[in-house]
């Protein structure tokens, strides 16, 4: 996608004017979209960004006429010269897929499980070309699947969705979107559910789709990095409204709306500014069940004044692009930290245990975990083994944060379970302070915070009870446990007033705070953080990251930070271990690994992470890995990465390749300054 400067002379393909969407709610009606206008020109990519609940998806569904029953829509949607609003379902059927096509977020559920992928692509072709014969439609499906990069498309048209990986399924959905040469493709969070290297592949497929059909695109995402690299123009949404709109460069480099600036400031960066404190936006987006008199962002905005609470700001032009802020001029040359002062969390707890020890605090040696794969017969015989974790060793010192990075299937979460003794390792040992960790003996010292804050909190217990529970289990009297629980809740920023509420009454970030308070209850020395912020919105995520940093400083905690988001890991970790298919491929000091990655996988992983910086994104060279992660049931011999390794598939000689096939590369220092498990590791 080549971002170019656009003149207003280019024709509009799709435009939305004063769009409103209302959903019925148990308390009345929710105004999900409150008057949105934007237009899309021929061949351009419009990025729509905003956090969950800002109305991005509702706008897209309204354009497609796919709002759920009960939803009310107002305003106008024009495709070229045709008004789409009020067209009715039959009329919209002829528009959908042919004029405007859509790609949805979750590729695992977007395809019907009972039809082959070929049928589902062919069906899209025949929907608008009823005269096409079944065979011709399948032929076209094969062609489309080849275009989006499905290997052996001809042999695979008859396969069913469950036989494809998530990334491959999203390609199928993109092929469906391309089927009728649409003029507009709307992609709603097309890569959000995918791993970062797969995301790069899917974005590439989307680019192919645009090149092939010449379609303009609306790219809806919460990921500013994805937008920076793909979009010509950007629309920022907040609470059902457009709050800023302009070219990608203007919005990213000269934001004139405090919300946009705040979003950029709360984003951990893979490039520059790491180590610096994130500047989260205080509070949470407003509920939209009643009219908001002034600016919807005012309650969270450090610049807000009287006028902001009473008078709603209109979109107006400031410095060459549109913004909805009364005081936009004040943002000239301001950095996020100039406007958003990071609130220091009120950590009242002190380290009540000796924290400094000689040598590593937590040590894992040669961890192996195999799961039996059983047949369906009468005796459920074991037919194979799933190699989840294979010979993983690492250590963690007191007060240190070790980042464990990897994509799905890399064994991250299995390692967390092994450390917590929630699973028995097949081989290897875990030691805390030199003593083997087994069963519940070390439960006090090792605690865990899970990814899904809602799923890990009992919905029928109050916040105070949730935090007090581990204390009660360990024999603390009821009143003492309660006192301590309130103290812990206060230290994670949940004051007394909220301790008697139930999990559903809290926001996602607050729930994660309860999870952290609970993990801290027993005064552990090591916290295992298993994707603690990946379910959270960016502004909230920054808040939780800051809290974790403060707690570490105050209590001298050690963190094992498990994440797939490299930017977050770069921000928080002291050392980093990169996992691929159950093995550590590279480990070292944070900056050494990120600035001088020596394993081809680490290099590909880092290059795949989109940066929230349009200029850098445009010139970046991405290493696109081929294919999917192999099955851990039958991992490749020798180096597990070789089936996707650009070096193995490229520059290596046959003799060198046979080494990769035959010999497992050990995780040793090979002159790169830190251990790398590659026979031919080195700079790109």
């Amino acid at each position: 996608m080549s971002p170019t400067t656009h003149q207003t002379t280019t024709a509009e393909v799709l435009s939305v004017r004063d769009l409103t969407v209302e959903f019925p709610d148990e308390r009345g009606r929710v105004q999900a979209v409150r008057g949105v206008s934007w237009s899309l020109r021929e061949g351009e990519v419009l990025g729509v960004v905003g956090e969950s609940g800002c109305g991005k998806s509702a706008t897209a569904l309204a354009v497609m006429g796919l709002l759920p029953p009960g939803a009310r829509m107002g305003g106008s949607v024009r495709f070229r010269d045709r008004e789409l609003a009020g067209l009715g379902d039959r009329g919209m059927s002829s528009v959908r897929g042919r004029s405007v096509a859509m790609v949805f977020q979750d590729p695992l559920s977007s395809l019907n499980p009972v039809y082959s992928v070929g049928f589902q692509v062919a069906e899209a072709v025949r929907a608008h070309h009823p005269g096409t014969s079944r065979d011709d439609a399948v032929e076209r499906a094969v062609h489309l699947l080849e275009l989006v990069g499905i290997p052996n498309a001809r042999d695979r048209v008859g396969d069913y969705p469950h036989e494809f990986s998530g990334g491959m399924r999203q390609r199928v959905v993109i092929a469906i979107a391309m089927a009728n040469d649409p003029d507009v493709i709307i992609a709603d969070e097309p890569t959000t559910a995918l791993d970062v290297t797969i995301q790069a592949q899917v974005l590439d497929a989307l680019r192919t789709a645009r090149a092939e059909t010449g379609a303009a695109a609306v790219l809806i995402t919460h990921d500013l990095g994805v937008v920076a690299g793909q979009a010509d123009r950007v629309v920022v949404m907040y609470a059902g409204k457009v709050v800023e709109s302009g070219t990608a460069d203007e919005v990213f480099y000269r934001p004139r709306m405090p919300y946009t600036l705040g979003l950029l400031g709360s984003l951990p960066r893979l490039d520059g500014r790491f180590g610096a404190r994130l500047t989260p936006i205080a509070g949470t987006p407003p509920a939209l069940d009643r009219p908001i008199p002034g600016c919807a962002f005012a309650p969270r905005c450090p610049l807000a004044r009287e006028r902001c609470l009473t008078e709603e700001p209109e979109l107006r032009e400031v410095d060459g692009h549109l913004t909805a802020c009364h005081f936009a001029e004040e943002l000239v040359d301001k950095r996020p930290e100039d406007v958003f002062v990071p609130v220091v969390a009120p950590v009242a707890l002190t380290a009540e245990r000796p924290v400094r020890t000689e040598g590593p605090l937590l040590r894992a040696t040669g961890l192996v975990k195999h799961y039996p794969v059983r047949g369906g017969g009468f005796f459920r015989r074991q037919v194979a083994e799933l190699h989840a974790v294979c010979d993983v060793s690492f250590s963690l010192s007191a007060g240190e944060t070790l980042g464990l990075v990897g994509e799905s299937g890399s064994g991250k979460s299995t390692i967390a379970k092994l450390l917590m003794s929630l699973e028995e390792p097949t081989a290897g040992r875990v030691e805390l302070d030199g003593a083997a960790v087994r069963g519940r003996k070390h439960a006090r010292d090792l605690q865990i915070v899970f990814q899904d804050p809602m799923g890990s909190l009992d919905p029928r217990m109050t916040a105070a009870d949730l935090v007090a529970e581990p204390l009660r289990i360990n024999g603390l009297a009821k009143q003492d446990a309660r006192t301590r629980a309130l103290e812990l809740l206060a230290s994670v920023g949940l004051g007394r007033g909220r301790s008697e509420r139930y999990p559903h009454e809290f926001s996602g970030g607050q729930r994660q705070r309860i999870g952290i308070a609970r993990a801290l209850a027993l005064r552990p020395r090591v916290l295992i953080l298993d994707e603690p912020v990946s379910a959270l919105d960016v502004s909230v995520q920054a808040d939780v990251i800051n809290l974790l940093e403060d707690l570490q400083d105050a209590l001298g905690l050690s963190y094992l930070f498990i994440a797939h988001d490299l930017s977050v890991v770069r921000h928080i970790a002291d050392r980093v271990a990169v996992l691929y298919l159950g093995r550590v491929v590279e480990v070292g000091e944070r900056d050494a690994v990120f600035d001088h990655p020596s394993h081809p996988y680490t290099q590909a992983l880092i290059s795949a992470v989109p940066l929230p910086d349009p200029r850098k994104e445009r010139v970046r060279e991405r290493i696109l890995l081929s294919g999917d992660v192999p099955s851990p049931v039958d991992p490749p011999s020798g180096c597990r990465f070789r089936t996707r390794c650009p070096r193995f598939l490229g520059a290596l000689t046959d003799a060198e390749r046979s080494l990769c096939v035959e010999e497992v590369p050990g995780l040793v220092e090979r002159g790169q300054g830190h251990p790398v498990a590659c026979h031919f590791g080195g700079p790109r």
Partner: protein, 325 residues
């Protein structure tokens, strides 16, 4: 597939063996088949009693009784009956009569459940939905015997009012049966109407609720949304994408309910005085006729097991994610 079917059938053998043994023991313990004979006035001579006891194998240990019953089955010997009829000779025609009723009722119930369930789901929270919902719950809570008696009475009233036999309310066929093929068919069809309605109505109600909820769920699914985003007409999406997937779990429910249907048929058959499996079981229980009860249980359990297998196979055909093995 064939290997799977064979393995599944193999699995059912121990289940039926254990099940039949337990029921055999329980039925034997539930009363003395000679009770009526013993209570007779004037008393029956001990010689006759002993002979009868020997004929009914009551002089043998329980295990041996069971063993002889079990091995007898394979020779076509269903065991001695208290009433001195040949159980094998008696039960097959009755099975045919009952299966006729159950199959027809299931087909009718399925059709009704689909129509009502789909309309309710598509027009969710409309008056049609509320109407079907109320009717469904009314039928759900209505005992089969009550509905059957009510319907029968109505039919008799109609017959009396019109002075001709519009509805047959007694028996599964006329006695003596009419001669010729078409008269026989129409006679059987005439007799089957009322019991089928009773059985279908009581069966379809829960199924329609099931179809409704699974259709509502599927309609909100991402793949139905994608199908609409392709530009497919609403009706195509509804039938091809929504209904097709919503039907899959119904196969299990229907197969499971077949067992219930057989017991439901007992009541319906009794009300309409059919000579089916229902009255067979009732008189067998009344007479404490161990081997007749066992014959009924064996047949019904084999049917249940078979239909469960059929449901699992259908499931795998309908949903390719399910792998048999």
């Amino acid at each position: 597939m064939l290997a799977y079917v064979l393995r599944r059938l193999l699995h059912t053998i121990p289940i039926i063996l254990v099940g039949s043994f337990i029921t055999f023991v329980m039925v034997s313990a539930s009363g003395d088949p000679l009770g009526d004979l013993l209570a007779k006035q004037p008393p029956v001579s001990p010689a006759i009693l002993a002979a009868e006891r020997h004929r009914l194998r009551l002089d043998l240990p329980l295990l041996e009784q069971y063993w002889r019953w079990l091995t007898g089955i394979f020779r076509g010997d269903w065991g001695p009956s208290v009433t001195r009829v040949d159980i094998g000779h008696e039960i097959w025609p009755r099975l045919l009569v009952s299966v006729r009723l159950v199959v027809l009722a299931v087909l009718l119930a399925l059709l009704l459940a689909l129509v009502v369930g789909v309309i309710s789901a598509v027009r969710q929270y409309s008056w049609v939905d509320y109407l079907f919902t109320s009717a469904g719950f009314l039928l759900l809570s209505m005992p089969a015997f009550w509905l059957a008696i009510l319907l029968k009475q109505q039919a008799i009233d109609v017959n009396e009012a019109t002075g001709s036999t519009l509805f047959y309310t007694v028996g599964d066929a006329s006695i003596p049966p009419p001669t010729g093929f078409w008269p026989t068919v129409s006679d059987i069809a005439g007799h089957i109407v009322l019991p089928t309605i009773v059985l279908a109505l009581t069966t379809f109600a829960p199924w329609s609720r099931f179809v409704r909820s699974s259709m509502v769920e599927v309609q909100q699914s991402d793949y139905v949304r994608l199908a609409r985003a392709k530009g497919l007409p609403r009706r195509t999406v509804l039938v091809r994408h929504a209904l097709r997937t919503a039907l899959i779990p119904l196969t299990t429910v229907v197969a499971m309910d077949l067992a219930v249907l057989f017991s439901g048929a007992v009541i319906t058959e009794t009300v309409f005085q059919w000579r089916g499996m229902g009255s067979f079981l009732l008189s067998a229980v009344r007479d404490k006729d161990i081997y007749a009860v066992m014959a009924w249980l064996l047949l019904v359990s084999v049917i249940v097991v078979l239909f469960n297998l059929v449901a699992d196979l259908l499931y795998a055909v309908l949903d390719r994610r399910i792998r048999l093995g």
